[in-house]
Symmetry: C2
């Protein structure tokens, strides 16, 4: 089934409102989640409602909380999310970073006492849309990734997003997990009875594996970007560790969770980081923007391996998905649709996808 973006977004908002989330917060979270689905980042859209509900019911997520600024200087702020969802806090944080960067040139804002905030590219896109360079990173509750040389899950997918304004409406927008792939991709291979490509999965004793069941059924691990020590996975591991320094470290949140906390992180145990930087500090901002646009076009003009598949720049695949789905609707699988319908019924939210 596919649904128009506006209806898809409204359904998410209706459920969040039925959970007693404040109207402004619910509108923001629905924007962030529906944007991810629009961009093809299906792992971070409507599919997050069932896990959010699970946390809420377990008393580990304070959906009614409103974020507030707890501390600030001209170049920084700390936002306290009150143990609630990270989307309203994340938007407030990046808005604050942008406002300060417009005033003084750059700013960093961290969010503490928070939960999942959706796809990090949503926030760095806000900076690029405001003519600024953006960065964001966050802790993730998973303990599915073994550090290079390790045979024990310690880290999660710990993503980074970085953006820069270029051609209007087409910013450079990198949004990447520091794991090679997320576990959803491994599950897809298992469902099709296919092996995983080399470098995606490690067995429980830390050996490279191409069997998806080593991860899914035999307590193996995901790899850091690079895949194997030979493939320089210490770099993906290093980027994951730095993600935790910048988010949990600066916010004073737990830098590592215990395995039993992965599916039910303690209330407010995550943290997010946001940075906004004005290129006008260094040179004419319009010339910077034109140079970034030319750079992206020049990369797109690279001789392609397959003439039918031109080289892309960070942000291009998501924009292509968004254009397609804005036209054709957002697909929602049967299984997810049934789960979301049950959430609507249980909470008394209107059912808009009937």
């Amino acid at each position: 089934m596919t649904f128009p973006h506006e209806k898809h977004r409204a359904q998410i908002e209706a459920i969040l409102r039925a959970w007693n989330m404040a109207p402004e917060g619910a509108a923001i979270a629905a924007d962030v989640l529906a944007w991810a689905d629009l961009c093809g980042i299906d792992s971070h859209g409507m599919s997050m409602l069932p896990p959010y509900d699970k946390l809420r019911r377990a008393g580990l997520l304070n959906v009614e909380a409103a974020p507030k600024i707890a501390r600030e200087t001209p170049v920084s702020a700390v936002v306290d999310a009150g143990g609630g969802l990270g989307h309203p806090a994340g938007k407030l944080a990046m808005e604050t970073a942008i406002k300060k960067a417009k005033a003084i040139g750059m700013a960093t804002v961290v969010v503490r006492n928070t939960a999942h905030y959706g796809a990090c590219g949503y926030y760095t896109k806000m900076a690029a849309d405001a003519g600024l360079i953006g960065m964001s990173t966050t802790t993730t509750p998973g303990v599915t990734v073994a550090p290079t040389g390790g045979a024990q899950g310690r880290l999660g997918t710990d993503p980074w997003s970085m953006s820069a304004p270029g051609e209007p409406g087409r910013p450079f927008l990198l949004d990447m997990a520091t794991a090679t792939v997320a576990s959803g991709k491994v599950r897809n291979k298992a469902n099709e009875k296919l092996p995983t490509p080399p470098g995606w999965v490690m067995s429980r004793d830390g050996k490279p594996s191409t069997d998806p069941l080593d991860l899914l059924e035999r307590k193996g691990y995901l790899t850091s970007l690079g895949g194997t020590p030979d493939g320089a996975s210490h770099k993906g591991y290093g980027l994951a560790a730095m993600a935790r320094v910048m988010s949990a470290g600066l916010a004073g949140a737990p830098m590592l969770l215990r395995p039993e906390q992965a599916s039910a992180p303690p209330t407010g145990s995550l943290a997010h980081f946001f940075l906004a930087l004005d290129p006008g500090l260094f040179r004419d901002a319009d010339e910077f923007r034109a140079d970034v646009a030319d750079f992206c076009d020049s990369l797109r003009a690279t001789t392609p391996v397959d003439p039918a598949r031109p080289v892309q720049v960070a942000g291009d695949p998501e924009r292509a998905s968004a254009a397609r789905r804005m036209r054709d609707g957002i697909p929602v699988g049967k299984g997810l649709l049934a789960q979301v319908k049950a959430l609507a019924e249980e909470s008394g939210a209107a059912w808009l996808l009937g």
Copy 2:
């Protein structure tokens, strides 16, 4: 042959002085280059003197230039390296970022009109040693890396370094090329008549290859971190592109060089980026530091794949090398030693490694 660190450093300094580099600048560049050799980053130490000499003789490197601050605000500066080596400019830039971050909380400094600046970890270590978070990135002249989906070299090794203070003397210190490996590692495999591991090299038509000669003799390419599209090389490619946005983009330098410029980049065509951030903006800086130290220790305590090889944290391998080489001396291969001796003779520098 091995030489004590102090003698090794003095030899580098003597040659730079004989090239008419200013005494302060030569001392800094020798510090940076000898530090890389000490840390085992042999590609960025004394071995850079022959290529620097080649540029100098071609009139493409103004060794006598002194860096100066061309523009500044309370949170930023632009350093102009005058077409000279990047080390003195880089040190001035990070010192400036640190001073401003100590005053206001964070700062970004870019260097324009510059050349190679050595190993980027040297500069972020300065920030960590000052109790701050550090970042640095730079353009590199190489056009050896094909973007994901491309069959044409466009990018270089475009590194990132990120640091954080932790246990005193043991900062978190990530210093990574965004290519899977540098070409030197491919050359080592060719010399031993060994195949390269999957994901290091692409053939000229952009296909994955395990033949080092595809890169070295048949105009193939290095890969971005991730190695293959299946291995998520678009992430390494995205980090390389962002490195160029942050350095060349902000400094107004060329964001891409043409292939014929790779071995002889035009004077002052590179650019560097430096950021310093005070964790004290967000929480007690000593508590932050203690948490980062605990985090690193906890990662080191991960169950290892091989009990004889404990899990390491970014910065650990370089510190181990530095301790070893400070004790045993820095090894210099016969070929490099002969080249450096020739440089000393031609320039009239004292020969200290006889």
